[in-house]
């Protein structure tokens, strides 16, 4: 049953190379940097323990993403589900580069992402950022390809609506300072995390 040692070390090398993607996917799903790393570490260890069940010719990235998202969606008691915009992430976004407008737009997008339903956010991240095909994303989420396509499409539309209303709000008062916008976004995220629990 046990893989030979050489198989293990090849698996380990490939898994190690995927850690940046596990972290990025986890961060996109749960928004909070610390919780996301906790989720990614959990997935890393689960993947290692399940290595005998991995089929070498399959896509390891999709396989590890499946493990990660199943943890995220199934272990409801864990704090991963506490959807919120991480203040540290938000602040880092605001100082990320020299273009204040670009920073605001990125922050607004993070905020809008946090307000999407979990399944739509997941589909959009997998296809729109993670570089996975619709077929792979469907395999990861355990649903039909058509379902993924419609989630991605609904997610895009919803994002545009949310961003439109946010940015209109920002621009209506050009004197509004970045910190005010930040406070406003944090308040929205706060409301979301207190009201959003099912």
């Amino acid at each position: 049953m046990n893989s030979p040692k050489t198989g293990d070390s090849a698996f380990k090398a490939e898994l190690t190379a995927l850690i940046p993607h596990l972290r990025a996917f986890a961060r996109s799903l749960c928004g909070d940097a610390t919780l996301a790393d906790d989720l990614a570490q959990d997935a890393l260890l689960k993947a290692w323990k399940a290595r005998d069940r991995y089929e070498p010719e399959s896509n390891m990235k999709a396989w590890t993403f499946t493990i990660l998202r199943n943890s995220f969606f199934s272990e409801k008691r864990r704090s991963w589900r506490r959807q919120s915009l991480d203040p540290e992430v938000a602040e880092a976004t605001l100082v990320a580069n020299d273009d204040p407008q670009a920073n605001l737009e990125l922050l607004a997008l993070r905020n809008a992402l946090a307000r999407l339903p979990d399944d739509q956010r997941e589909a959009l991240i997998l296809v729109g950022a993670g570089g996975l095909s619709y077929e792979e994303a469907a395999g990861i989420s355990g649903c039909a390809v058509g379902t993924i396509k419609s989630r991605v499409s609904r997610a895009r539309k919803a994002l545009i609506v949310i961003l439109e209303s946010d940015l209109t709000g920002f621009n209506s008062d050009s004197e509004m300072r970045a910190t005010d916008v930040f406070d406003d976004l944090m308040r929205q995220a706060q409301e979301l995390s207190t009201n959003g629990t099912p």
Partner: protein, 61 residues
């Protein structure tokens, strides 16, 4: 509405532009994390798990 046809075209173009921009920003958010150096904690955990594997009396804590 004499301009509705042109207006429609313009809308479609705007939606496409917005979607492309959102796509670029989504990738930027993802890539920002993916390009960070991997925290030592991750490598340490995997090393530990690997060592426990080679050690037959692994305890599941």
């Amino acid at each position: 509405m004499p301009n509705s046809k042109d207006g429609g075209k313009e809308d479609v173009r705007n939606v496409r532009l917005r979607r492309r921009k959102i796509g670029e920003q989504l990738r930027a958010i993802y890539d920002e994390v993916a390009s960070e150096p991997v925290p030592d904690e991750f490598l340490r955990l995997l090393e530990e798990a690997d060592r426990n594997t080679t050690n037959p009396d692994e305890t599941s804590s």
